[in-house]
Subunit: 198 residues, 2 copies
Amino acid sequence: MAQRDTLTPQDWIKAAFRLLTSTGPTAIRVDLLCRELGVTKGSFYWHFADLAALRAQMVAHWRRVATSDVIAAMTSAELAPRELFIRLFETVLSQPARDYGGAMAEAAIRHWAAGDEAVQAVVREADTERLAFLTLQLRGAGLSGPEARSRAALLLATLIGLEQLTGEPALPRLDIPGFVDAMLTPARMVDATGGAFA
Amino acid sequence: MAQRDTLTPQDWIKAAFRLLTSTGPTAIRVDLLCRELGVTKGSFYWHFADLAALRAQMVAHWRRVATSDVIAAMTSAELAPRELFIRLFETVLSQPARDYGGAMAEAAIRHWAAGDEAVQAVVREADTERLAFLTLQLRGAGLSGPEARSRAALLLATLIGLEQLTGEPALPRLDIPGFVDAMLTPARMVDATGGAFA
DNA sequence: ACCTGAACACCGTTCAAGT
DNA sequence: ACCTGAACACCGTTCAAGT
């Protein structure tokens, strides 16, 4: 593809995401990456210690684009919580538009995390950042602390799950505003001991 | 481990899930499986055409245990939708109790699906079956057709997402009954053209 | 029918040598 | 600094031979 006379880490990472989305996770191989970039395998090992190092960089890129950048964009848009959540769902549901692999990347990354401590740490960071952001928004919408935390985790789970489902069993038409409204509506929370929760 | 004098496919599948949960997805290797079962590699290739065939059997097993069996158990318990949903969430949140790999299996299977048509077909079947079951329950709880379908997809997404999050960023305490109540509460549904939805 | 043991093939990784 | 080309190592797969 379009390349300058010397390769950058970004070139390798982009090529790897391209292979991931086009052919699947097994296509992330040194020889295929090199064919894609028109170099030999030694070049790869000058830029990266091994394939695990490349995956680590892919995960770092995903963390930035899929988490921090999204949160920054949402924050700067200064939307009310309700509209912000609706836009978040729309972003997740319009998967193919993303350039870092979309749903395939999420599945691959969470899979890699199971066998790679470093990857797992980054995924945890991303989830924690998302959770804190969602909790903040829900507090802003008037929910109590415990309730905002609970609903934030459930919202995050829904977003992650939808990412895995998009395109799969032909999802029905979703009433996102209705769902968001339901999530913004406080419930009576009672803890296991029977005492008031909030 | 405990083995009769001749191995069954079940022995291999169980060993593979054991390796998956203990060491991660990269541990599903012919040599490691054989060490675990006390045989040589030729034995594996008498039972299975290749590793892809073993994975296909693992996916088939997951589909039965994680989908059909769960639905059958829920159905025979004859619970009201609200209690049924609460129990479903509890089942998902108590991951380690499962014997087919739990959350790690879900991530691995959805990852394999990206590069394997046969696996993808089974995952699609499982999702479709879950979706139909949840939709049926929501209709039983009094939601309209379109609303039940929408909420069923969002419920399924939440369950799948929670499976990926369990244990990860130390989830806060979740108010599952409150969430279920919110999902059972009908919303005014209006479609994109502005007309009444249901 | 079920498994052994050795061979082969593929792809990840290394490294001395080039520019 | 960045890459080539050849070598090596590992693990998936095959297969003739054993019981």
